[in-house]
């Protein structure tokens, strides 16, 4: 929770604990409020659904958010050091193939390691091109996105085709790493969920999804979040790395080895993308299939942007998409209930705008709330295409509404040449 602090040099001394405590309480309040909103929507929804707050939806959302979050964190590492990494998708593709290869020749954990190395290799390519040869970041990223699917297809044909069940476009099935439930707690939460009490059962349902049948790999993936927060915001190395993204020329004058920090950042970025790819293969699918990343690298970049280049914001964005994905897969009618949720949320935003005397915004919010409410009232279901595009629409909406509050690293995408000063 430390990353919710305003961005500043780490505060030292006794005050830190107080701020932490405060921030933790605030987040708990936000979470409770979100659950309450979901509960109310679920109570009101017709046709009725119990999937908005079920443990099944929660555990699915948690898992499906992982690839997007890891890609987002990957983007965060690179861009905080001033390198735009649009090649995340390609690095994820390398991660999927390498992850499957490791899992096929060894065990799933070897697959995870191979996936990370495969992604890191993609990161290395990007680092060599952008940091050493000063190629335009977008050009190099696009080249990696083109290269990766071709390379993996070639590799799959030359290696996986030789295995039973493998082919030019897929690997043999691979095992997952195993899962665990927290004993007692998960049973207790399940008991509460089955009672169908308003709010209580909803909250315990969502919590239950977090502690039952959790894969070890999911735990590893979520550990990347606090690790990123710690390394980038609580260490000297992280401060120097971020200074390279804000002003590499100033960093250079105080003796920071800019090239080194950018290089490491981009490789870590690739490694995270590779882990994301390996997660898709080993945890979500159980098999390598061509094209299975399905644009999640780009969605990860989008979550990073609307998370305002911060780890917690990125992770929350990823969870939002994971939740939309999960609902769509588990229950299409629940997606219809989201229209009501949107109407209620917009109504609340309108109230807040009224209180702050922002008349134009409040009228806009009321208008959109009415639009969603009408849509909800006159239909029983949403078109089958809508759930598929929901994440993309949400990205657009959030970017449109939040764009004025976003602040990217000042020297993001800048071409830096050692010792040559500003261009």
């Amino acid at each position: 929770m430390t990353a919710t602090l305003p961005e500043q040099t780490p505060a030292r001394g006794p005050s830190t604990m107080g701020v932490l405590h405060h921030a933790g309480a605030r987040w708990a309040l936000y979470a409770a409020f979100t659950v309450l909103l979901l509960s109310i929507t679920q109570e009101l929804a017709t046709p009725s659904t119990d999937q908005l707050t079920s443990s099944g939806t929660a555990s699915l959302a948690i898992r499906w958010a992982v690839p997007i979050m890891l890609a987002g964190l990957g983007g965060l590492w690179a861009e905080r050091a001033g390198v735009i990494n649009i090649g995340l998708e390609g690095m994820m593709v390398l991660g999927t193939w390498c992850g499957a290869y490791g899992a096929v020749i060894g065990d799933p954990w070897l697959g995870v390691l191979f996936g990370i190395l495969g992604g890191a290799f993609g990161g290395l390519l990007h680092a060599v091109a952008t940091v050493i040869f000063r190629v335009d970041h977008i050009v190099s990223g696009v080249a990696i996105n083109l290269l990766a699917p071709g390379l993996t297809r070639f590799l799959a044909d030359s290696i996986f085709s030789g295995y039973e069940g493998g082919s030019i476009s897929q690997s043999p099935s691979v095992d997952d790493v195993g899962e665990f439930s927290i004993p007692l707690l998960s049973d207790l939460l399940e008991w509460f969920e089955e009672r169908n009490w308003f709010f209580v059962s909803d909250a315990t349902g969502l919590l239950g999804g977090l502690v039952s049948d959790v894969s070890w790999l999911t735990v590893v993936a979520y550990l990347c979040l606090p690790m990123t927060m710690f390394v980038l915001w609580r260490t000297t190395f992280g401060l120097r790395l971020r200074s390279c993204g804000e002003d590499p020329w100033a960093a250079e004058t105080v003796g920071v080895n800019v090239l080194f920090h950018k290089f490491v950042a981009v490789i870590v970025s690739g490694a995270l993308a590779g882990l994301s790819g390996a997660f898709i293969v080993i945890e979500l699918t159980g098999i390598y299939k061509e094209n299975q990343t399905n644009g999640r690298g780009f969605i990860g970049l989008a979550t990073m942007i609307f998370g305002n280049w911060r780890p917690v914001g990125t992770a929350l964005g990823a969870l939002l998409f994971g939740f939309a994905d999960a609902l769509q897969l588990r229950d299409r009618t629940a997606v219809h209930a989201l229209l009501l949720l949107a109407a209620i949320a917009l109504g609340l935003l309108a109230l807040r705008a009224l209180r702050e005397r922002k008349w134009v915004s409040s009228v806009l919010f009321v208008g959109f709330a009415a639009l969603f409410a009408t849509w909800y009232a006159v239909t029983d279901s949403v078109p089958s295409q809508l759930p598929q595009v929901t994440p993309h629409i949400m990205t657009l909406v959030v970017l449109v509404f939040a764009v004025r509050r976003l602040r990217m690293p000042a020297a993001d995408g800048a071409i830096y040449s050692k010792g040559e000063g500003r261009h």
Binding site: D136, A143, L146, R153, S167, S169, T285, I287, A326, S384
Partner: protein
């Protein structure tokens, strides 16, 4: 500086194209071309096989097509090469043209070739084409192989309803389009024929036009898990390569799954405990017969529908999970073949 940048970019991009094209052509010369040998009959017919996306190894539709050609290679001694389109299928047309220029008979596997077969047939009037699941009328050199999937799916509906203990079954379609709706219509009719008040969950992985639905085991797994959570205990898929995910979910839930196109029990040894049966769409024998007509010179264009009357559709009994109800299934099959039951081809 700029020059070095351009050189690097050129290298990267050209490498990616080289890698991509290596994959597309599938090393055809080296490991898949097989020639006649031993006591096989002499023939110089060469066969080009263009798969649907995913290609050989999908443990379903494409593998069935591959089996037909492999049999033709072994029994008729034809030569063949194969090619697999890229993941989004955007290079189908090019692969088909390439195959048409090099071979006597070209097999296009999958409905998606419907758009590209016509132009290829016009450009190569001396080449014969066989489209599986395609609808390309008015060409003398194009044979369209169609299958009465609704009839096979009806029998799967019968199996599901008979085997369900909760009177609740499910259906997962890969893509929400006419061809797959045929499966749904037949399955629902079959289940209702056995039990009128049965609950049937129906979900499609992807909307029309988004063919990733045939290649998304992760999504199929979660959709199936949701159905099993909701009380369904038998789920049937018509989703090609995505079906694997449904079987994984069945295994987690301790419930049944029904396979499609090929005998998936034999193809997925790890999941044999949960694969009740599979609807067999014998693409292999359809393709083998077509190649045989090419070899003996009797190839004819037009349409050929394989259904229960001519043995063109069926089900597998591997694993013995449905041995106890085979008589009842056969009864329904006989009624369909006799025309007493007319199976709908569109969902009601």
């Amino acid at each position: 500086m700029r020059k070095r940048l351009l050189v690097l970019l050129a290298i990267l991009i050209s490498f990616s194209f080289v890698a991509a094209s290596c994959g597309d052509d599938d090393d055809d010369a080296s490991d898949t071309t097989t020639t006649a040998g031993g006591d096989m009959p002499e023939t110089d017919v060469s066969v080009g096989l263009v798969f649907d996306t995913t290609g050989r190894g999908d443990q379903s539709f494409n593998d069935s097509a591959a089996a037909g050609v492999d049999r033709a290679v072994a029994e008729l001694g034809v030569e063949f090469t194969e090619a697999t389109p890229n993941a989004d299928g955007s290079n189908r047309a090019e692969l088909l043209q390439l195959a048409a220029e090099q071979h006597d008979i070209v097999l296009a596997v999958g409905f998606a070739f419907g758009d590209t077969l016509g132009p290829a047939a016009t450009d190569n009037p001396d080449t014969h084409f066989v489209g599986v699941d395609t609808f390309v009328p008015d060409f003398e050199n194009v044979l369209n192989l169609a299958f009465a999937e609704e009839q096979g799916s009806f029998l799967m509906g019968v199996v599901a309803a008979l085997k369900s203990e909760t009177n609740h079954v499910g259906f997962i379609g890969g893509v929400d389009m006419e061809l797959i709706q045929k499966f749904e219509a037949g399955y629902v009719a079959g289940a209702r024929a056995v039990s009128e008040d049965i609950t049937i969950d129906i979900e499609y992985i992807a909307p029309e036009g988004d063919f990733t639905g045939f290649n998304a085991p992760d999504r199929a797994k979660e959709i199936a898990a949701s159905m099993y959570d909701g009380g369904a205990d038998v789920v049937y898929h018509a989703a090609g390569g995505s079906g694997l995910g449904m079987f994984q979910a069945a295994q987690d839930a301790g419930a049944w799954g029904i396979g499609v196109d090929s005998d998936q029990w034999a193809l997925l040894p790890d999941l044999q405990d949960v694969i009740l049966t599979s609807m067999l769409k014998p693409v292999d024998s359809g393709i083998f017969d077509a190649i045989a007509t090419e070899v003996d010179g009797s190839f004819e264009g037009g349409f050929r529908t394989l259904d229960l009357t001519n043995g063109g559709i069926g089900y597998s009994t591997s694993g013995g999970h449905i041995d106890d109800i085979v008589d009842q299934i056969e009864e329904y099959a006989a009624q369909i073949a006799a025309g007493d039951i007319v199976v709908p081809t569109t969902p009601s």
